[in-house]
Symmetry: C2
Subunit: 413 residues, 2 copies
């Protein structure tokens, strides 16, 4: 840690899958940096770290401040994103040498990267390489992911909004899927490859919530699942299932891959066609119960539905970005801005810095003791954890009945 | 037409697929009827006309007025729905005789049925049978359908909210699906078996709208579609397609059925598995272009997303219900309450009564001259038609960060 205030340009970028509030973190970084006297310029990476490697940067100082102020309510990654995995610099330092070259070219002394596990790994590697090279640059990671699987932070900006969308949508789907007098099984597929935080959020719909909930933290057994569905169906003729895309059987095989033999096949040119988990499960349910069965995949909608983002999430996303800049200017480097839940009956949170090496490449899963048996849902501990995160509404402005999102020029310098 | 004010009970029901605002029409009927001195009781059908046939009625006078006041913001059909097709009374009058029996039992003199084409057909048949039987009962149909395919009304309550959801979601999906530097084709499947009004609404997203739009009004040619996608992909590497579930080829075969040979197969017990149109089209695109291809089906979400309903739609839905009651009490029968768009630069509408026989069993399609060639989208006439319908926001209340929907007791009398 240098603990030294540097003077120079700041560079900020976004990486990985977008969320509804990743631009609120971007605004937290950009606004705070633009206002700081030690920061000479605030540059953005076009499409994350690939924008550095390709020398594709733009100047946030050239953007209309009124448009920047719309960023907290604009979904997806306004600077553009990438999915570029940095190599180990000990194996191949090419990318890092190129980054150093660009840092020198623009006198970049502050580096902020907003993303999930891989992005924190990138931050960590860039930070270590700069230190080793003797180039002074303070590096702070800013957490983001709807999956909520980042270590070191109580929860992750992006999760609260996705959870609010999922719970709201489950309530609406419940009312729709139970409207007829006839039987019906509805299977809702929710994102989350290894951690079930998003699927767990379906339970927040309470009395309008799913009858059965399956998270990837628990081994998925097809026979037990079909028994669970049959039991609920026999009792009330309407069954709503929420299931993580990442559920696996006892051998570690994704249930969605069961579809390769039954629910999908080859396309016209012989390519394998995957139908997804919802289609696979609806196929199995139809084999067991003679009723209407519908599969619904929330797909990208759950990570970009900014029109129903959580106000708390927007605010916290901004705070981690703001604190990242303040910390970097105070001389801190090699850390991630994390959200700490404070004690007390009323929810409150603060931002603290945690070492990047404690965060990168670990996945935080839902505690097993929070997950009910036989798909029966989530414990009170989960509700206590998640409900505060979905409170408050977005300040999204509308024009002509539709969202008015931020428009950036992003002219490459 | 009797043109006679009757004294007695009113009966109201909902039928067919729900919408975000069908309960606003229900509230328009119920509130107006509860306040009218000629109406002795306001009864609800549990699950539409089947609730009459099964003598499953409940009393709206017993419901909490504060809960009833939440109906305009509550999606789906609060009274329950059905998909029961009435027989021709000349062939089999059993159902009608049963309905007459129930009408007599509860002294029902007003009958309001909220629904689409089939429901207007039911209204028409009930009205004709009562007239023939000499039983005085004023029958008014109240239009509802997200599909917007009802004749006799400028547009249909339910459409504006679905259109607003689709346009909003397309904007958000656009930002998400174009966030990476790499190529991607996104195919969004939208409801509409024979009429493309909903898919056309995707265009309202404007600069965030789909590159290509396919409605069922135009014959779908797979080769032309793939050429269209290829052309846009070559130009900008990102292609977003909005397509109606009901698109058909020149032989009248649904494109989604192409999937039966390529994108779907048999389940474990030999049942055919349909993958849907989005999966079928993504399969064909993958065969042609070597890039990431994603299919998204908006599914039920587009008809129940009350959290982003159109304020104009909620208001007009209420007005058709209110006017239905006022008209029936003034002695009108055998009509549907229709929305008439008034002349002028600023949008306004009024409600008028149209004969049920002019409405029932016809489908109103998108004018061909409003649809661009080669998937190029909608004309200015469509925008002028649809934009006013998505204006204004819902008054939906929230509790604990989530929607607070109406809760009815619906105790069967």
């Amino acid at each position: 840690m240098t603990m030294k205030t540097l003077k120079g340009a700041a560079l900020v970028g976004q990486s990985g899958g977008p969320t509804s509030v990743i631009n609120s973190s971007l605004y937290g970084v950009v606004k705070t940096a633009l206002e700081n006297e030690n920061i000479t310029r605030v540059l953005g990476m076009s499409h994350g770290i690939t924008g550095v490697l390709n020398d594709q940067l733009f100047d946030f100082g050239k953007e209309d401040p009124n448009e920047l102020a719309r960023l907290p309510y604009t979904p997806s990654s306004a600077a553009g994103s990438c999915r570029y995995k940095m190599k180990d610099p000990a194996v191949d330092p090419t990318d890092y040498e190129r980054i150093l070259e660009i840092f020198k070219k623009y006198d970049i002394r502050y580096f902020f990267y907003i993303g999930g596990n891989d992005s924190m790994d990138t931050c960590q590697k860039v930070s270590a390489f700069m230190a080793k090279s003797g180039y002074e640059c303070n590096v702070i990671g800013v957490p983001k992911t709807i999956d909520n699987d980042l270590f070191g932070t109580d929860h992750c900006p992006g999760y609260g909004s996705a959870a609010k969308y999922i719970a709201t949508t489950m309530m609406e789907l419940y009312l729709d899927a139970t409207v007829y007098d006839s039987g019906m099984v509805t299977v809702v597929e929710i994102m989350g490859r290894n951690a079930g935080w998003l699927t767990a959020a379906a339970s927040l719909a309470g009395e309008y919530g799913p009858d059965l909930v399956y998270l990837p933290e628990v081994v998925f057994d097809m026979d037990a699942f079909l028994d669970d569905v049959q039991r609920i169906y026999d009792a009330k003729k309407k069954v709503i299932v929420a299931v993580s895309e990442g559920v696996k059987d006892k051998d570690g095989k994704y249930i969605s891959e069961y579809g390769s033999s039954i629910a999908s096949s080859k396309d016209a040119f012989g390519h394998a066609q995957m139908g997804g988990l919802a289609l696979t499960l609806t196929g199995f349910v139809k084999s067991r119960i003679n009723t209407k069965v519908r599969g619904i995949e929330l797909s990208l909608l759950q990570r970009c539905a900014a029109h129903t983002a959580s106000g708390t999430d927007i605010e916290e996303a901004f705070m981690v970005g703001k604190t990242a800049v303040e910390s970097a200017v105070s001389g801190i480097t090699g850390r991630m801005a994390a959200i700490i839940r404070e004690d007390g009956d009323v929810y409150s949170s603060k931002v603290e810095l945690v070492p990047l090496e404690d965060v990168a490449n670990y996945e935080k899963k839902v505690p097993l003791e929070w997950i009910g048996e036989n798909g029966s849902g989530m414990s009170k501990e989960f509700f206590d954890y998640a409900l505060p995160l979905i409170q408050g509404e977005t300040g999204l402005g509308k024009e002509n009945g539709l969202p008015r999102f931020a428009k950036l020029k992003k002219e490459i310098i």
